[in-house]
Symmetry: C2
Subunit: 455 residues, 2 copies
């Protein structure tokens, strides 16, 4: 709501060409809000608005803007403007930018950076996507064990503004990470204290090749503001700060949710994704799951004559399939989330299955009881469907129990199995489970019907 009105105010002033007023309003805004306004503006207004910003705010806002508008801005920038922006960006943001831009723009960016920065950028670009190395920035503060607190403050004051964080400083010896010291430690120690005496040597770190999900969850687990990234020889090569970790957490959650809904993950926001692109993300699983339903169809075809003899059974196929699917989906999604949060690990497989078995029995009995009552009272008495005998109701309710039981067991074990063999458990969510559960529960339905109704 607030965003809307702010944007409207800005655009009204802009259209009325009240530039002085507009400039003073923009200058008071937060970079994230400026970025929001620029993202919502059209074509040419983007660069015009951007040029109204004070230099520092402009650069800060630039880091928040979507890659599409970043590209537009860079195309409109003079070389001088581009240099100013790139100079002020943190290195990890420059790397993110380069990864999103077409080659011609990348060349222009690299041409407008000094050789040292260019070398650092190229080094960061060499790390595999989604690794700690690709996420980190080399802009951290390092101290030596022999420095005093006073010397440390002098150093931090000198280099602090161009570092991503000064609140955690890393202590190195021959580039090897030997300790960390927080700004709080520095502030509460006397000036003569030596860093070696106050640093914490029990350093939590990640490796350059660790997945970015590991980086974020480690940082979150230990409540850190930044986490150091080390190479194979424990030399610190960069840090990842908490704000980037939060972005990773949100992206990973979105990715998991998309996979659970049978969508190929994307990192673009919905409204910025084209129709064809959206189609391409959704069709693979739809096709695969549709073709897999062939088995279910074959089972029904196999029992076609029986069904013709007792057509009343058909009416309960959707209910049995949906309930099985829902029951299995509940179990699988719970386990997938538990695995992803680290609440459940592979060694818990048996206790998970044992718990799901018990939950399944109680759920199954409860659903069957309600359904039996519903079929005899509502369907038979009230709706007058005389085809529904007690025997038919019994067949449906028994199948319901079997379907829920099988669904819960498949639902809880497939994600763990996927994890064990190195697949992403999130794929084993409702849509996939449903397809399997459908086939199994239909088979159970017809077999139970055959033996109880003698059809």
């Amino acid at each position: 709501m607030e965003q809307t009105s702010l944007f409207d105010v800005v655009m009204t002033l802009y259209r009325q060409r009240k530039m002085a007023e507009l400039k003073s309003i923009l200058a008071q805004l937060n970079p994230a809000d400026v970025a929001n306004i620029i993202e919502r503006a059209d074509g040419r207004d983007v660069i015009a608005l951007f040029r109204l910003l004070p230099k520092e705010l402009a650069t800060e806002a630039f880091a928040y803007i979507d890659s599409e508008q970043q590209e537009q801005l860079i195309l409109a920038f003079t070389d001088r403007e581009l240099r100013e922006v790139i100079d002020e960006l943190f290195l990890d943001d420059t790397v993110d930018l380069i990864e999103e831009m077409p080659a011609s723009i990348v060349n222009r960016i690299l041409k407008n950076t000094d050789p040292v920065t260019r070398a650092q950028i190229n080094e960061l670009l060499a790390y595999p996507a989604d690794s700690a190395g690709s996420l980190m920035t080399p802009e951290y503060v390092y101290l030596k064990t022999t420095m005093t607190v006073e010397e440390s403050f002098a150093k931090i004051r000198a280099v602090g503004v161009v570092k991503e964080t000064i609140y955690t400083c890393y202590v190195t010896e021959e580039r090897k990470l030997v300790g960390v010291v927080s700004m709080l430690d520095l502030l509460t120690s006397s000036y003569e204290t030596v860093i070696g005496d106050i640093m914490d040597t029990n350093v939590i770190s990640v490796h350059t090749k660790d997945d970015k999900e590991v980086v974020a969850s480690t940082l979150a687990k230990y409540d850190l503001l930044a986490i150091p990234v080390v190479d194979g020889e424990n030399r610190i090569v960069g840090i990842v700060t908490v704000d980037d970790a939060i972005d990773v957490i949100q992206d990973e959650n979105t990715e998991d949710i998309e996979k659970m809904a049978a969508i190929v993950p994307t990192d673009k926001p919905y409204l910025k994704t084209g129709v064809i692109e959206t189609f391409l993300k959704r069709i693979p699983w739809l096709l695969l799951l549709m073709v897999s339903a062939t088995f279910t169809g074959m089972i029904i075809t196999g029992f076609e004559d029986k069904l013709a003899a007792s057509v009343v059974l058909t009416a309960f196929i959707p209910m049995l399939m949906d309930t099985g699917g829902n029951a299995g989906g509940q179990a699988s999604v719970t386990i997938i989330r538990g695995l992803s949060l680290g609440d459940i690990s592979l060694r818990d497989v048996w206790s998970v299955i044992w718990k799901e078995m018990r939950v399944a029995v109680i759920c199954g009995v409860c659903l069957a009881a309600v359904n039996f009552g519903k079929m005899m009272l509502v369907d038979r008495l009230i709706l007058g469907n005389t085809g529904i005998t007690a025997a038919v109701a019994l067949v449906v309710c028994l199948t319901l129990m079997v379907a829920v039981f099988i669904a819960k067991i498949i639902g809880c074990s497939l994600p763990i199995l996927a994890k064990a063999v190195g697949f992403d458990p999130a794929v084993m969510a409702s849509p996939f489970i449903t397809t399997i559960v459908d086939a199994v529960s239909l088979l159970a339905y017809f077999l139970i019907a055959q033996s109880l109704l003698h059809i």
Copy 2:
């Protein structure tokens, strides 16, 4: 993996009563790791292990431990031990603890806190659950506009260790929040500078009554390390730090995922939730959705004679239902996530529906084409099901297109509708959508069959 071996090492030493060795190992660990070990230990070992820890580490670890083991520990604590732990806990952690404990323990905790703390705790407990007020801690650093940087450092040095963060300081005038100043600003200004000259007056804050989700997303949006919480008169009453915001983000994601899977949300980890409790979280939606399937059953019953005449149609019911459910689920989950991340807002409803319509048409045509080929080649020719004529295949494929189209439209619009009327969009996910889509697509199936096959 690392956790397992650490736990094993600790427990082996413990069982061998090598207490000196154990003590020195424990003393080197991080509080989060200590908490992990204690959570996995059994009954009496919990308190014995806890008592081996150095005092400061013990308290820090205590804040990380699950409420179940916290309760066990408090029951075993002497009043003195309890006082030591509570004294060192941050106030927001104490409030979390009190909210989880039974009344008798709450009384003991309150009896062992000093009157000032007790008053603060009671104040925090008065805020509604899930509000910014219930999440915040009053342990922030406040400065005055007239203070110099030197005076500010003196104050921070004096009070810093008992504050949740010193990296962002809040500037107040008659308790009203007038600015913020970061430790970086302080460190890079000369000692004589007056706070009023360097503070940022454009303060991002939240209100005590704001939902904790708003707190976390605002903090994340502006990349803050802490966010101030103000009352109705803009007086600062507390702050929320980034580590607590991350926990909120993860909890909200879990809650959304659970709701999307038709589970009543819980905040307990899976393995710590009892069978009955798990059952109670799952059965409401299972029952509701099962009973809702009555409509689908009624539609089938209504067309029973037609089905008896053309039993081959039954074999495609599961495939049609599943594909519709999956297509609708993809749309609904994408929109739910977009709404929750703020990528999509209510005013986007028409562009969302327009995009989904186009995606639905392409998906529908693609699925229908593949399915037509599959039915004629695999089902008819290879599997020899001669009941499948081109007309039957046409009916199935037309229904497929209609089902996918309706599913996508319902899937994308129901979450937005839910949001518009103040419900949680997450409830409008696959299970709910599936139930509606099933009924609609079955109706379409029979109507199309009736008119094309003349049954």
